[in-house]
């Protein structure tokens, strides 16, 4: 067999792998023959297994979804048995922590993580067993869950209640401001009119009206101050602490899982 024949047969055998992969593989082997040089052509063919079957088989195993049975694709390592054609995290049974982690520290903790995982599982199993053992277990568990959710709900309620209270204050101020301003203005106007007929009384009413008007303006200013300055800051503060609380919960959960 010569190079052309080899490559031709190989191309034929690779018909059922994706087009792009086939093209690249053939280009690779073409290059390989070129780099080896014409004088090494026979040796290359021998290195490739003598006939295209072997090369085609290993390529197909790599790039096809339907796997052919290859006896050297099972491997025993200290992580247990694995099929080397399948990505590491899809092995069954799941292998122990392996070198394909990202960080070396994680690798060093790898074995520890494994044990801690089973420890958490043990704890959960023990709790469930105890709960099952006593008849009040289910209720107790339900009670605990209810308590946790109740606490969470209470915290949310507090936060939102606080926000609502301030909101209510602002609204109240606004309402009062509106009322007093209009009332005061009306009174002032009425007093001025009254001045025509009864100056003394008219002045009194006007004066009182102006005072009420002033109070109204003060209320308006307070409302504006609350609305513009306090509320946004308060909302942001509440949101920030809420997020911090979430993060804290997440961390606690993570350390619990570890």
């Amino acid at each position: 067999m010569n190079r052309q024949e080899f490559l031709r047969q190989l191309a034929q055998l690779l018909e059922d792998i994706p087009e792009a992969e086939r093209r690249e593989a053939l280009e690779y082997y073409n290059n390989y023959f070129d780099d080896a040089g014409p004088e090494n052509e026979a040796q290359v063919i021998q290195e490739l297994g003598g006939d295209p079957q072997k090369a085609a088989a290993s390529l197909k195993a790599e790039f096809q979804s339907a796997k052919t049975s290859q006896k050297n694709y099972g491997e025993y390592s200290e992580q247990g048995f694995r099929d080397t054609r399948i990505p590491h995290n899809m092995q069954t049974p799941r292998p122990m922590p392996s070198p394909v982690n990202d960080h070396t520290e994680k690798q060093n903790k790898g074995h520890r993580e494994f044990f801690k995982d089973s420890k958490t599982k043990k704890i959960v199993i023990i709790i469930l067993a105890l709960a099952a053992a006593c008849s009040i277990g289910v209720e107790l568990l339900g009670g605990i869950i209810g308590l946790v959710f109740g606490l969470l709900g209470g915290i949310f309620g507090l936060v939102f209640g606080l926000l609502a209270a301030v909101f209510g204050l602002a609204a109240g101020l606004a309402g009062m401001a509106l009322a007093t301003i209009t009332g005061g203005a009306a009174m002032t106007a009425a007093g001025l009119v009254k001045c025509i007929t009864n100056p003394a009384l008219g002045l009194l009413v006007t004066g009182l009206g102006l005072i009420i008007l002033a109070v109204g303006i003060l209320l308006l200013i307070s409302f504006l101050w609350v609305a513009i300055k306090i509320l946004p800051r308060l909302a942001r503060w509440c949101w920030k602490h809420l997020l911090q609380f979430f993060d804290w919960c997440q961390e606690k959960w993570k350390t619990l899982k570890k």
Binding site: D35, A57, V100
Partner: protein, 107 residues
């Protein structure tokens, strides 16, 4: 060769060979270098290269050579990190095997 070279070890060897040159090497050269260490069939090597490339441990680039396109493979950062891991794992693994085989490992 008495012992079968598993996929992980093959990956490690290929990564080590490719990492020797910063600009990377081409397929034929990689094969020749790998075969200095282990007597492996070339037909198993291209799939390894392709898989490492897909896993972003190697990157491929083409360069013209004597009127044809030659594909070079060079190691990426992820590949270098992976190689590091393989190297430390191999140290531990091989020393344990050695001690078991030479009888110095006591259960």
């Amino acid at each position: 060769m008495v012992f079968n070279t598993g996929a992980a070890l093959l990956d490690a060897i290929v990564l080590a060979v490719v990492s020797r040159t910063k600009e990377g090497t081409y397929g034929y050269k990689i094969t020749q270098d790998v075969r200095q260490a282990i007597n492996i069939s070339e037909s198993t090597l291209y799939p390894v290269l392709r898989r490492l490339q897909k896993d972003d441990c190697l990157e491929a680039y083409d360069m013209e050579f004597r009127g044809r396109n030659r594909r070079y493979y060079k190691i990426t950062e992820k590949g270098a990190a992976q190689l590091n891991l393989y190297q430390s794992e191999w140290k531990k693994y091989s020393s344990r095997i050695t001690s078991v085989l030479t009888g110095s490992y006591h259960v």
